[in-house]
Amino acid sequence: MMKKIKKEDFLDYLKNWGKIVEIEEGIDVKDLFLPKEEIYLVFHKKKDSVEQDEFRNIERKVVFNIPPCYAKSIELLDFNFLREPLDSFYKERRDSILVVVKACRNPHNFCFCTSLGNSPFDRKGDIFIFEKDGYYFAEPLTDRAKEVLAWDKYEDVSQDEFKEVELEKQKVEKEIEKFDIVNLDKKLYSVFNDKIWKELSFRCVNCGACTFHCPVCYCFDIQDVDRTNWGYRERVWDSCMFSIYSYETSGHNPRAERHARMRNRIMHKFAYYPVSYKEYQCVGCGKCVEVCPTGFDIREALLRLKEVVNE
């Protein structure tokens, strides 16, 4: 059911649910669920003992107006963080943030969501909305969305209006570059030792921007901060593109070489994730392409890999 609700009314309902956060970038969406820096344990050292407390800083929020791809990225993060053992920090954030997704009508040059089987009009998140003349056409998708407002009070969008959404969807989908990478996952294993990885990583400077900006990359580090008699333990974002990421104290590093790290990044997304969860760990948002200082383009990389696996 898609309801027609005045913009102000709709926003009031959302405000009642939690603090509205309007963000555009995937990096900020990820930051809401998996903060860049998250203190989770605070300790105080006494003479013969230590006191430790679990630390939480969780607030009810509504993340508003994000495109469907970023809602999809949250679903992909769920696979990792909600599987056993449950990541309780992530889970609590997930439960306290309502996700309101807006139909994406302005895709940019880097987008390729449709190549991954997604659509800029995917019904994702808790509520899906489409804006029209001072109204939202809104569709509740989860149980908690149903509790946000008395949906029955509002009238359904008309057939014409519904058609308009569909037409717009088709129009936007056509604007997005689409290529075929279905079934690439299994074939990637066969090129694990290929020279293609050197070719692909040739220009990479290991800055990690691609992974930080990726809404689905979630690697983190755990660090302690020590003050005189107290301190805390926190998790902070990390990147598999850094060589110290896998550096062992003995000096051994399984991914000391650049191409090994690029390979892991791409294979994690396009070969390993599918083994565990049957989905690519990429939503096709193109952010990594946009931010790379050396012009690494994951779309080109995937197409190159497709050529190589079929050779």
Partner: protein
């Protein structure tokens, strides 16, 4: 385990003992305060020093020895150096048990061959004591354990006790002749070749430095050990220890969560990213 897998149990250091003559290896004995960690041989814990960080270590005790946990730790970097300087009574945060364990259930009714080298003998000690404490459930137990020199063999008092036992064959070896050493001389793979244990009804567990593993596996192969009968324990840099932080993967597998114990057969299906 706690409800929150990131929160450690508080543990008190109740004893320490140098394990090697060069003092690089030390065994630490912990008591979990008001709680208990239930584990099986092969599992590990993240041992944390409040303010310094956590690091993963295999549990060297067997659950059959009681509630206290021992770890034998090589002084290597930040956390391990602080540990080496810690005194009895100090409080630590321990998370665990983490990872899987040697398939001791599957081993029942079979012979078990344990091949170890250097300071990787920690969880092998756990396994061996566990097997000995359930001695009637297993057939022959054969152990080959080597170190560079006699002073680097760990748990020496116990090793010499085990040598006296009738229900266990243990072969200790050092890399080269050493004054006062009357045992085997030679690398672990060579001793394995000489001992040539039968692969019939036998499971093998191999842990040690990469070069030892590299030369041991072909010997096992000539002895006709099948890859689903040979187990090893892997190490990678770790942080979370619960398969979340992404760090320790080989292919889609996380060493911390899906391992650290794997059969060679399982490893054959993973990309060579070690």
């Amino acid at each position: 385990m706690n409800n929150n897998p990131y929160m450690p149990f508080k543990a008190r250091l109740v004893g320490t003992k140098f394990e090697s003559e060069d003092r690089s290896l030390k065994t630490f004995e912990f008591e979990i305060i008001d709680d208990e960690i239930k584990y099986l041989p092969g599992q590990f814990c993240e041992v944390g020093i409040y303010g310094k960080g956590e690091a993963p270590f295999g549990i060297a005790t067997s659950p059959t020895e009681g509630k206290r946990l021992k770890f034998t730790i090589n002084k290597a970097g930040l956390v391990t150096s602080f540990l080496h300087e810690s005194n009895k009574g100090a409080i630590f945060g321990i998370r665990g048990p983490l990872g899987n364990y040697y398939p001791v259930e599957q081993f029942k009714g079979h012979n078990v061959l344990i091949v170890g080298g250097g300071f990787a003998f920690t969880t092998l000690r756990s396994l061996l004591i566990y097997l000995l404490d359930h001695r009637e459930e297993y057939k022959n137990i054969e152990v080959i354990y080597g170190a560079r020199e006699p002073g680097l063999l760990m748990y020496r008092d116990e090793l010499f006790e085990w040598e006296k036992r009738e229900d266990l064959n243990i072969h200790l070896t050092v890399d080269k002749e050493f004054p006062g050493w009357s045992g085997n001389v030679g690398f672990v793979p060579q001793v394995l070749e000489r001992v040539a244990p039968s692969s019939k009804d036998t499971y093998a567990v191999v842990c040690g430095p990469p070069v030892m593993i590299k030369f041991t596996l072909p010997v096992l192969k000539t002895l006709d050990f099948k890859s689903d009968r040979v187990y090893t324990s892997l190490e990678k840099r770790m942080k979370c220890g619960i398969g979340k932080c992404g760090r320790c993967n080989i292919g889609h597998v996380y060493i911390c969560k899906d391992g650290p114990v794997f059969s060679l057969q399982e490893l054959e299906h993973l990309p060579p990213d070690i």
